[in-house]
Symmetry: C2
Subunit: 716 residues, 2 copies
């Protein structure tokens, strides 16, 4: 598509593959070579004239220190599964359900005061006098027969989870890496000195790439191979806890947390659920600590003339790149691994100088869910194409500075197609970046606010990658939005009550009832309902997906049912009649191939609600006029090309702006972006088939022929 260009590309170097590394650095136009987890670059690579990224996961590879300072090992709260008493005494083996290589019970006095024994049948705490602990087992006395009991306790995490995963996946036979908790002063001092020494010993390194700071996302493994992952959450803070953290929290925040704040009746603290006040306080407390010590490490690195980048994955907990303290770190850049468009936007929006994407597939034998990638049966070129077509949509809308790959370079040798394709991608990326240099793309007159519990603190992402969160409608919505020519912001419920709706054209609320995405108890606040009602009445569009604004126990279920004109019965209205309806065809509104999955128990609340699509006799897409504004409802949302355009169309139509806009293609198979400063138009083909498309430009209709996954750039 253009001349071969170079730069802005980070190549994973590999020891013992120096020739390959240098050859691919040329082919892909790399300007930086990085090491990968468990690899060391050779002097030949370090001295080849490239920038050098060195990956540091600061809290691991210090097993000797950990053995000398067992109190400095990272921890978590665990709870046993409920166990049923048959008599008046009950023995509970604390680690029976857990992967014993990951955990060791913290038996210390200071930790034991945080342990809790619960009668889960009654929902009451058992006083400490009624239970005792010995050799891994809690014995509860005076149990009520046929009640169930649990024990919550602190456990050291004896195996850093990312290396544990790599270790187990690859059947390594290496020492298990123990994660160090820098909250303890001894650990801080040790790590600081270790990093200073490291900086001295690595003069060739130009960028220290932190992976990431100190605390991994939660990943609790089980004893049984049939249920290995008991819990995983990319956004939860469980792995930051310790008796020291709890004591510090109490001193700083003025009240004490308990084990139950973490265990939460076995649910733990799921990012997909609304956070409690305690959880918000604890997150803020942890962020303050992570930035306080983290910025010292960043300053240290910078003092040695290196840049400090942070990897926005793995041990990112407490970093919160959209949180109030992130700028205090002073990071020079942020690196995000991406499969999807929304992750591009997630990275691009972080306040940092340099934004880099690590593309997928990772150079590893297996990929998502253990599927083959760089091995027999794998097709890494196809995988790369599929990820790139999603990522590229985001790159049209937001500026990213660099891309790169990760993993083991030698694995590409059997896949010459892949090498060629990455060369194309690297060129295309560099071209796309150029388009953004004189200003961003034009957007339609449509400002969209996605409304959920996390708001601006956690924009774009739900919790992890698309394939980890695909069951939530909202990630599909976010993915669609990431490539649409509209302004997008993320707001929480407090913001919505306090002016954040001003100037917004469309508010999206999408999720299952009770979740952080729909909002749960947030909808109990009449101020929220009133503010949104007034805003829609004045002309806003509330676009609800799934169970928006749901709060059982109010009038009906959706608190904004008067705006949406539709509701979902939770069982209490099974005897109520249902409005009959005809499906209305609005020309041009729903592209061919668009459509969403149905949801049961939906019913119209108003005879004026217009049904735009239905499935199985129930509405799937509706619109309801309210004052000068409108409620739009979708029973669900699945991301694909047709549905992305459908979402745009629904927003344009419902807000009264109309479907006839400039700088839109005539087909959902292709999208375009217009950069007014340079008067450049790019048209991209989001499909694996050639496409002939029209674009409605400011100078009239223009036609384009696009190769599969191809793009065309035109100056106008």
């Amino acid at each position: 598509m253009s001349l071969h260009t170079t730069g802005s590309f980070t190549l994973p170097g590999e020891a013992n593959c120096e020739d390959l590394t240098l050859r691919l650095a040329k082919v892909w136009g790399a300007d930086v070579i990085r090491d990968s987890d468990g690899t060391q670059l050779s002097p030949e690579l370090l001295n080849a004239g490239y920038g050098i990224y060195s990956t540091i996961c600061i809290i691991r590879e210090h097993n000797e220190f950990a053995r000398q300072h067992p109190e400095c090992v990272q921890q978590t709260f665990l709870s046993t599964e409920p166990k049923c008493a048959e008599g008046d005494t009950l023995d509970i083996d604390l680690l029976a359900d857990f992967f014993r290589e990951q955990f060791r019970i913290n038996e210390g006095e200071a930790a034991r005061k945080y342990w809790q024994v619960w009668d889960r049948t009654e929902g009451v705490l058992i006083p400490a006098e009624r239970w005792s602990y010995r050799e891994g087992v809690v014995t509860v006395k005076g149990t009520a027969p046929y009640h169930t009991y649990t024990v919550s306790f602190l456990a050291y995490r004896m195996w850093e989870e990312i290396s544990m995963y790599n270790h187990v996946t690859n059947s390594w036979d290496k020492e298990h890496l123990i994660p160090i908790d820098p909250r303890l002063p001894a650990a801080q001092e040790y790590l600081y000195n270790w990093l200073e020494n490291w900086c001295k010993e690595h003069p060739a390194t130009t960028v220290v790439r932190f992976t990431s700071m100190f605390y991994n996302f939660v990943w609790i493994w089980g004893a049984d191979e049939r249920n290995r992952t008991l819990f995983t959450d990319w956004g939860s803070y469980d792995f930051t806890v310790s008796e020291k953290a709890l004591a510090d929290f109490e001193a700083e925040c003025g009240y004490a947390l308990t084990a139950e704040d973490f265990i939460n009746r076995g649910d733990l603290q799921v990012t997909h659920m609304p956070p409690t006040g305690h959880k918000r306080d604890y997150m803020a407390f942890t962020q303050r600590f992570v930035v306080e010590f983290g910025r010292k490490l960043v300053e240290l690195v910078q003092r040695y003339g290196k840049k400090a980048y942070v990897f926005y994955d793995d041990s990112w907990v407490g970093v919160e790149p959209y949180g109030p303290h992130f700028p205090e770190f002073g990071f020079d850049g942020i690196i995000k691994c991406v499969f999807s468009g929304y992750e591009v936007r997630l990275c691009a929006g972080v306040p940092a100088k340099t934004h880099e994407l690590r593309l997928h597939p990772y150079l590893f034998p297996t990929g998502l869910g253990g599927a083959p990638t760089f091995m027999e049966g794998g097709n890494p070129t196809r995988d790369a194409q599929q990820y790139w077509v999603n990522v590229r949509r985001g790159l049209l809308r937001a500026k990213i500075d660099r891309i790169g790959l990760g993993g083991y370079l030698h694995l590409t040798e059997d896949f010459p197609d892949f090498v060629d394709y990455i060369a194309e991608v690297a060129d295309e990326f560099r071209t796309l970046r150029t388009l953004q240099e004189d200003g961003g793309p034009a957007v339609l007159p449509l400002k969209v606010a996605v409304l959920h519990c996390w708001g601006a603190l956690r924009p774009w992402t739900l919790s992890g990658h698309f394939h980890e969160t695909y069951m939530h409608d909202l990630i599909h919505v976010n993915e669609a939005l990431s490539g649409l020519p509209v302004d997008v912001e993320f707001i929480d419920f407090d913001a919505a009550k306090n002016g954040a709706l001003d100037g917004v054209d469309v508010v999206i609320n999408a999720g299952r009832a009770g979740t952080a995405w729909s909002g749960g108890e947030a909808w109990a606040d009449p101020k929220l309902v009133t503010a949104l009602t007034e805003w829609v009445h004045g002309g806003g569009v509330l676009l609800g997906v799934g169970e928006p604004t749901a709060l059982a126990g109010s009038w009906g279920n959706f608190r904004m049912r008067h705006v949406l004109g539709i509701d979902r019965d939770t069982g209490a209205r099974v005897c109520h009649g249902r409005w009959q309806f005809d499906v209305e065809n609005v020309p041009g509104l729903l592209p061919e191939g668009s459509g969403v999955k149905g949801l049961d128990n939906l019913y119209l609340t108003d005879g004026t609600t217009r049904v735009l699509a239905s499935a199985g006799g129930l509405p799937t897409i509706t619109a309801h006029r309210f004052g000068k504004g409108c409620g739009v409802y979708l029973s669900s949302f699945q991301f694909n090309n047709a549905n992305a355009r459908m979402l745009l169309n629904l927003m344009l139509w419902a807000s009264g702006k109309g479907l006839e806009q400039t700088w839109l293609t005539d087909s959902p198979a292709a999208e375009c972006a217009w950069y007014p400063a340079d008067r450049k138009l790019i048209v991209i083909n989001n499909t694996d088939q050639p496409q002939h498309v029209h674009v409605n430009t400011d100078g009239g209709d223009a036609e384009f022929d696009l190769a599969p996954y191809g793009s065309v750039i035109e100056s106008r």
Copy 2:
């Protein structure tokens, strides 16, 4: 299948069709002729030597009295739909959403004190000083802009609902019948005298068939033909209310009810939801009144040498045939219209001397949902077969004394097939009844208790007919149970805590979370959980369907998850791992053709849970050993022949009694019943195909050939 027999058959006579009536009386072996709604029997029929049933709906056909005593017209509470205020005042047209021919606002002072105006956004009552009423419109002052408001008010019901339905369906041009409320002394006196006069004027009548007592099930119609039925519930008490009833309730029960006890945030009081304490009190209060005045009417009829039967449909509210006061009526018989087997059991279990079924189809041009029956496009014989095959299963298990038909006899003239088929049915019924005369059928050693909020007060039925409640798993379970060779009882949660589990082998809890069938808040009681846990541990089988024992906010969702070994995530455990499983094949357990619909978000809570069937990667049928007992789970249940046998098999297998039992067929297509007193075996074919089946008798294997829908009786 047998010689032509006579008796125990009630024929609907028709004026001007005397010859037809008398001919069909012979063909069908009738011993009784009845009138139907809106018909009068001629002297020729009255004097033909048959018993005469006269249908009396005591509370209607008194329009002259109603006009003179407008305060004696029946009422209900209504609420407007929430309306949004745009400024500081709001007009609400009370009847805007309602069918104006059905309702008239009760504007009286005594009624007005029960009206309520609600700010539904805040969930607060508006003080009476802030609103006023004039000519059908409530004006609310000082409204908060963009809050929604409702008005709850008492309305007279100006058109008795069953006649309203018949009137509208048949486009009649008659006077609308107004329902009289006997709670008012003037109405009581009038109705008593009217009935006495009626008895005097109808010497030929042998049985007065009350239809039923005073209060219809709830049926609220809407203004718009696209949403004609706003609410209907066969078991709710809304239509019994009035300012007098509310004042009497307060005097009798010591506290006052409010409009909101009925309106319930627009949900009204749905039988499918757990009743509040106030609702239970109000139901008991109403039952006491209905029996107090009702028994006077029954005594009056009996004093004139007639029997009094009650029709267990239409205006049955307050009669509660399974309630504590029903025997006080002194009814001689009860008549139930039936489509299904469970309705046979519902009728048979009522403490009354004579139990009669009115079979379907009703002799009417249209049937269920307006489908053609006795008109072009209808096939009443096929309809009758399908209902009869369901009803017959129940008749094998429980004794019924009589059957009959209802409607307009002349409609059968174009359907000679139907006439022949009913003659067969009548004969078969009389034969089945004979089988029961010396004692009931043998049952397997399996006592089943269905556990829900209504328990023994409302056994077998949920609320109305199968086609009205098909969306609930429990009605399918009840229908299956109605023909199985097991003892069945219905218990509520209080009973379960107080000894009702003793001697029970299987407890079934089946329903959507939060409903009266699953139990909702009942599961918050640790006593219930403990009692059931102990009972299963000692050997009981808890069989859960759908969302059994569900109560969000406890540990997990199903409160009996430790017994069931499975749970359903409500969203809080979306990040938790899932047990992998293989589907286990237990020989003979799941008959060919059996299987149930899947449910999303299910997960095993224990690695020992056995998955017996799955769909879409999720378990649909599981079993989990617990102590000496077992938890069995089905994601849903749909009644059909194979699933009925599957249910029996699961209960036998899980309770350790084994699948090899005597007096069972080898095919779910056929069922059998063994009457030990007479040593008679009946085998029935539940399909429209011929069947060859084996029965495991106490004398070894026996074989039978059965015609479609046929049956064979053998003495052994």
